[in-house]
């Protein structure tokens, strides 16, 4: 796990390929407008927790390059992006890190409210949430896949399906 986190930190030092960045930002821009077809996400619920801050994020498998990571056969790279203006900290907590806090922090390098992180993850399904400012658990509305967390509070985890970087 430590190696993976170190890898993720290294990856964060390298900007993603332009096409990926463009897609992420396109998604963020798209989410800034009303999204009537978004069927598993309701703005009022998120707005309650975030006030005016919109929690926006996307996970993308990103291209390999010498400057980035080299996932193993059964691994892929996931990039997390969220828009949290004014946030002091944002982290990703999920099944891929045993729901442990403090292991995968997003960064807002440009101080524009867009927080980013990347990590090599095992291929397959993972559940996760963002934790903003150390206390607010936020569903990633751009995940596209959601599942009730099963604890009776009506909260949903985001679901991430990581494809293996190397196709068999």
């Amino acid at each position: 796990m430590t190696d993976r986190l170190d890898d993720a930190i290294e990856l964060l030092k390298t900007p993603p390929a332009l096409s990926v960045e463009s897609r992420v930002m396109a998604e963020v821009r798209r989410m800034s407008a009303p999204a009537p077809r978004r069927r598993l996400f309701t703005w009022p619920r998120l707005a309650t927790g975030l006030a005016l801050a919109a929690g926006l994020a996307a996970m993308l498998l990103i291209p390999r390059s010498p400057q980035t990571l080299t996932p193993g056969d059964a691994e892929g790279i996931a990039q997390f992006v969220g828009q949290f203006p004014g946030a002091r900290s944002v982290e990703v907590v999920g099944s891929f890190n045993n729901w442990s806090r403090g292991l995968l922090h997003l960064r807002d390098e440009n101080h524009d409210g867009i927080w980013r992180a990347a990590a090599v993850l095992p291929a397959g399904q993972h559940e996760y949430m963002f934790v903003v400012d150390g206390e607010r658990w936020v569903t990633d509305p751009l995940a596209g896949r959601f599942v009730d967390d099963g604890f009776g509070g009506g909260r949903e985890n985001s679901v991430l399906i990581v494809r293996p970087a190397v196709q068999r």
């Binding site: 390929a17 096409s19 990926v20 897609r23 077809r37 069927r39 598993l40 993308l60 498998l61 990103i62 291209p63 390999r64 390059s65 892929g76 907590v93 099944s95 045993n98 729901w99 442990s100 806090r101 397959g124 399904q125 559940e127 658990w137 596209g144 896949r145 959601f146 599942v147 009730d148 967390d149 099963g150 604890f151 009776g152 509070g153 909260r155 985890n157 679901v159 399906i161 494809r163 293996p164 970087a165 190397v166 196709q167 068999r168």
Partner: protein, 211 residues
């Protein structure tokens, strides 16, 4: 297999169970231990239960609700194993299959559709087909029609993550302008089989750059 009531420790066996040490509320330990021990005794995968316990603890869920969440997970695993056994009679029931079915059920996939996906992918890991079916159902496609599409795609040679592409293509067709109906979207994707588009930003083989 009684829990040793040492704060935060769990007595049940299993490689994933040690992750729980010191991570879950003391008052939840006996019940969690019992649930995991039941899974072990029934040869069910324990990792989903361990993860659910860790998740609940991380979120600060009260002990009673945390235990209920883990119990719900155990029920889904049991249901999943029944489905696997019915879909693949006389065959081994790998923990990965059971866990994948349970995860799909949790996402709302009807059991009958999960069983179809298992039967369809009898000789391969079923998770991608289950994910694809769960995606389509989550996007409000008719479950049987969605399963028909995936079976057709599979019959045309699409395997693994390419089945996810089928689900993505269907959703993209649905999102196109003009108020396309779900049935129409499925029909359009079916017509393009097996040539559904791959994601523009996706898995990139060694030595190539992404688009």
């Amino acid at each position: 297999m009684l829990a040793a009531l040492v704060p935060g420790t769990v007595c049940a066996q299993g490689p994933g169970v040690t992750k729980l040490a010191g991570r879950i509320p003391q008052e939840a330990v006996p019940a969690i231990d019992s649930l995991i021990a039941a899974a072990v005794a029934e040869s069910l995968p324990t990792e989903p239960l361990v993860q659910k316990a860790l998740e609940g603890s991380a979120k600060g869920i009260p002990a009673d609700r945390l235990v209920n969440g883990v119990r719900r997970g155990l029920v889904q695993l049991r249901q999943a194993r029944v489905l696997v056994g019915r879909a693949l009679p006389g065959q081994p029931q790998p923990e990965g299959h059971v866990a994948a079915v349970a995860a799909a059920l949790a996402r709302g996939l009807p059991p009958s559709i999960a069983e179809r996906m298992l039967t369809m992918s009898a000789d391969e890991p079923p998770a991608p087909a289950l994910h694809a079916a769960a995606d389509l159902v989550a996007h409000r496609f008719n479950p049987d029609s969605a399963a028909d599409l995936l079976v057709a795609a599979h019959a045309m040679g699409l395997r693994g993550e390419r089945l996810l592409d089928v689900a993505i293509a269907a959703d993209q067709e649905l999102q196109r302008g003009g108020g396309r109906m779900p049935a129409e979207a499925l029909a359009r994707v079916r017509a393009m089989l097996p040539n559904v588009p791959a994601p523009k930003v996706a898995v990139t083989p060694h030595g190539k750059t992404g688009s």
